[in-house]
Each structure stands twice: as C-alpha cells, then as structure tokens.
Symmetry: C2
Amino acid sequence: MEEVRVETAGGRYPVYVGDGLYEGKFVEEIRRLRPRTVALVSHPTIFAVHGERMLAALGEALGAAGSVARFLFSQGEEHKNLRTVEAGYVALLEAGINREDVLISFGGGVVGDTAGFIAATYMRGIGCIQVPTTLMAMVDSSIGGKVGVDLPGAKNAVGAFHQPLAVFSDTGVLQTLPAREMRSGMAEVAKYGFLYDEALLAEVETWSGRREPGAAGLEDIIAACAVHKARVVGEDERDVGGVRAMLNYGHTFGHALESAAGFGTLLHGEAVAVGMMMAARLSESMGLAQGGLYDVHRRLLAPLLAAMPLRVEVDAEELLVYMRSDKKRGKGERFVLLEGPQAPRLVEDVPRELVNEAVEDIVEDIRSGEPWP
Amino acid sequence: MEEVRVETAGGRYPVYVGDGLYEGKFVEEIRRLRPRTVALVSHPTIFAVHGERMLAALGEALGAAGSVARFLFSQGEEHKNLRTVEAGYVALLEAGINREDVLISFGGGVVGDTAGFIAATYMRGIGCIQVPTTLMAMVDSSIGGKVGVDLPGAKNAVGAFHQPLAVFSDTGVLQTLPAREMRSGMAEVAKYGFLYDEALLAEVETWSGRREPGAAGLEDIIAACAVHKARVVGEDERDVGGVRAMLNYGHTFGHALESAAGFGTLLHGEAVAVGMMMAARLSESMGLAQGGLYDVHRRLLAPLLAAMPLRVEVDAEELLVYMRSDKKRGKGERFVLLEGPQAPRLVEDVPRELVNEAVEDIVEDIRSGEPWP
C-alpha cells in the first residue's frame, strides 16, 4: 500500500493506493470517523460486482449500531445531471442523513463527480469519502475536490470545490475493469507523463505493449499520478493560479470532441488522447516544440484508442463549433501546449487557423486509419 | 453611511449601510470589480419598484462595454427550490456568464438565499454581491454566506457557504417595504437584542410604539445588527463551534411553526418572534432564567405580530411533529435558551415535556388573543 498526502486550504487528507484496501485501511478510517449512518452512492453495475465486498467492509466498520443507506443511479455521463442530484438529496433526507454522517462515493468519474456534488451541497456540505473503481478516477478525478454535474450542452457547468476526507484506490477492483476503460485511464496517466514525468511515459508504453489490465505495477503508476495531482492541487486548489490549469492538457480539444461525438460515444480518456495529439500538433505548428513531439504522442497514444468507435465520424467543423461555445463560457481561450515533453506552457492568443489546422490534421489522420493498431 | 467589516476564512468583505448607496458606494465597487457581464437576480415585485434605479446604477458602473443579464423569479418561499436554481443556471449560461463575471442578488431573503446558491455552484462558484431589500435580509441573511434552497418538507436542506464580495443595504428601499415586513425584520433585530445587546431591545420598543417604517435611526439599527452578525460569523463561519448556533435563538420553534402553518402563511420574523417567546418560556421552566423573561419577550414582541394571520390556527400537536422531524435531521437536539437577557446558552437534553408545555402555553396565549395588540 502507498499513501499520498493532499494538503489544501479546503482539506488535508490521505490518498491510499493498494490491493485489498477495503478490508484494511478503509475499515480503520470509517471506524475513526464514527458516522451513525453512511450514505453509499454508486451505480448498479459496479455494485453488482463489488457491492457485497463494500457492504461487508462497512458492516465491520460500523458495527451493529450503524446503518448504510444506498443510493444507486444509472451509469454514464447522461446521468451526471441535476435530476440525479435531486434524487440523491431526497434519498439522503429519507435516510435521515445529517451533517455528522458521511457519504461514500463508490464508482468511476461520473459517480465521483455527482456524489461529490451531493455531499458538497446537502445540508451545506457533509463529509465525503471517494472510493474510485476505474483507473481514470483513481489517477485523476477522485483527488482534488472538483465535483459537479453537467447542464444540457455544458459539461461541468454546475459544481463546487469539496475536498474528500480520504481517497481509497483499491487496485483489486481494476481486475474486473473492461480493457477499453483501462486504456482510457492510461491516457490520463500519459497526460501526467507528458506534463511532468518521463518515467510514466515509459510505463504507459510498456503497459500498452502487454495490453493486460490489472497487471503488477499499477499500484506504483497510480501512486505516481496521485503525487503529481496532489502537488498541483496543493499549489492551486481553486484553479486560479495557472498551475492546475496545466492539467487540462488535451482537454480543450478533448471536451469538444466528447460533445461533438455525443455523450457516451467516446470515453473521457480516449477524447483526451486525441486532444493531446491535437495539442502536440499545435505546439509544433506554433513553433513552440521541435518536430517529433507529435510522433511521440502518436506512438504512445494510438494503442490506447484501439476500441474507439469513431474512426470515420469525427467532423472537424463540428468540433470547432463546440470549441467556440466552450470559449464563450470563458474557457478555451488559453491552450496548454508543450515546448517539449515535461515542458508545459499556458498559451493565449493562439491563431484560429493553426487550431483549425491541428484539428483537421488529426481528424484526417484518424480517418485514414492507416497505421493505427 | 456606515461600513462594517466581515472577516472569515471564506472571504473578507464590507457591509455598507445607508441611504442612497446604489448611486454611490455601489457604483464605485462594481467599477473596481470590472465584470464584463453582471447577472442581476431578483423578483418581479422588487424589480418593478426599484429596478430602474438599480439598472441606472449598473449602467453607470459598467459603461457602454458592459451588459446586464436579468433573471427574475416569483417571490415566496415556495419558489426557493431546485427548479428556480436550474432555471437560473440556464439563464446565466445563455447570457454567457463565466467565472470572471459577477452575480448580484437584489431582493429579500428568498432571493438572497437562492441567488447566493446559484452563485456558489455555477461554474464551481462565481462572485456574488448581496443587495438586500428587506429589513430581515439586511440584518441577517445577506451577511455570513449561508445560501441554499429548500427540499419538499425540508427547509434549507441544500446549500453552501459562499461569502459575498460585498453587501449593500440601502435604507432608502425600506420606504416601500410593507409594514408587516418591517415588523418581521424587527423581530430579528429583537433577537440580536435578547442575545447580545440591550440597547437594540430599547430601539425595537421605541420603533414599535411609533410603528412607522423607514424612520430615521434605521441605519444605526441595521449597522448594529451587522456588527453582531459579522462578529459571530467571523468566530464560527461554518457553524460548528457553537457560536453561530446561538443565532438560532427562537428558530428551532420558529422553523417548525413556519412548516406547520404552511409556507407563506407566516413571515419568517413572525415565526421567530413566537419561537423566541416559546424559548423564553422554556428557559424559565428549565429553571435557567428568573421569572419575568417571558413577560419581557411578550411585551416587546407582541406588537410585531399585529398582522399575523394565525391567531387561532396554531396547533401544538402539529408543531411538535415538525420539531421531531427537524430533530431527525440532526437539528433541534440543542436549544438556544437564555439565562437572562444577553446571557444565551446552548442546552442539550431538554425534557420533552417541558418543550411540549412551552409550545402549548404560547399557542394557548396566542389563541386567547386577549392582551395582544
């Protein structure tokens, strides 16, 4: 097991990474917090597979006097909305959850964002423990307190900063994670690699070659990502100092790609992988990075897109429309670009033609399908 | 004009109190913040009377380049809900409001709580300026960052702590406030008097004798309340240290009374006034306070209930049911009681019979109607 500390004004907490955490550290931590009732928020798929193990752990931690209220909601970005949040409030209210109780978010990024927002706003905020069950959520969204839901046409338009009390990334659950979801998470690992950490890029490449989820070494990879995330969040919790903004590498393009493709078509990591390729191309055409940056991206990331069902349907024009609507909301006016691997830079005033060109080039490359795995 | 400073971890800001603020300090402050767009949230009634003045002030502050997006919603506690919040998000999104823009809440407590929650959660939080237009909102809810909305059957069940950037209490708008609303606000002034400030009790008594809203001296009264609220919030922003909890004097009973009477039947201050009488009676029967405490409450508060339309319809049994449901949510297990004027104390484990007795006594007293004004 590894432990990474997050230190922010909004909260100081541990991130635990390891196999078999639920039966160990997790029980210990819940016992220390002594909630009367725990609200367990999850989705039916993960609950069907790992729910029994989680309930057993909670039973051991809470003893006979405690109780667990469940709120399950359907999987997928289309349920990360205010309807789900409201249903969650009502479930918590009916279970008698109050400010001294604790909410446990048990699932991937959609569950973590939605459950975290419920915790942030129910009774003006109750304690939240994040128990991510996807590689993506373990390396990124479960850490740092960004929680929220979508409005129609506007991803993460409603939300809060609500740091969890603790994060438990049990690598055991990754054994049952679909291969496509593992690849998606690895794209986010690659992001940390491109931004900060050459060794992580080597790990991604090794892992892609083997293409086996749940392999040994995952604990180290996840912990390394958590260390990067914890440092960034500690320096710029509220995303106002330009430090946390770096984590959006590939995301300006990626969010537009997700919207253009329609919710649920692309996994987040797939969109970010394509987005990073576009950002790398743009870094070259802006004259920031030397040639070859794009090729490195392509070699590392293409294997992660093996199951992406979008080979010929990406439309550059549509993507650009979504990017402009993002810009209207005050985002997307700055791009995270690279001067080279591990040399990120926030760039404003990027010429529109070069953005268009990067989008079209990569879309063309994806369409051609040629040297893709 | 008077200026009171609020200093909390979540924000440090000024509360301005005075006549004609909109044309002065308000314009100055908006100019300093330089938002591109202002989201003005209000309700049609206040907007019909004072909207033009507000828009003129904003026009002067923003100049030709700025713009004002309006979101108006119907008055009354029954609109302080998630439907209104969602409609607000959509309006802000359509107006292109982003994290650098500012929301202005322009109205009474319902507008302030709802608009404040929209500001707290839109794009993970944007700046909010509170411009209260009722005495109640000026002396209490606009200061301290408690924002939120109701769930069916659960007042303020959803919310956040979101300190405003500034508060502007322009006493000029109180000239058009209905007399019943002024009395309701004075009940909250009396609360500060009973908790902390003998001089405020004398002010309430003087004001009641005259029964004229908008009279001279209001500026001092409001500023004095703001000083108390600022101190309490500064000591215990998140309401966890038992200091801010004191401000709930009369509110445990009052909230139940509001619920039992049905939203919109009682004004908040009326319910709190009756609640304080119940708390005073309970303080006596618990042996905490000397006899006479209830009589002082009755003498001071009864004139504020002149228009309360509930003389014979308070049902003690129903009220107790609502108090128990409040308790289930982890509230109401502690009562704020008085050992005497300006000597508040948080008391746990209050015998249920004494609570019942206090409720029944006061309900009986109200029903008898005898010496009420």
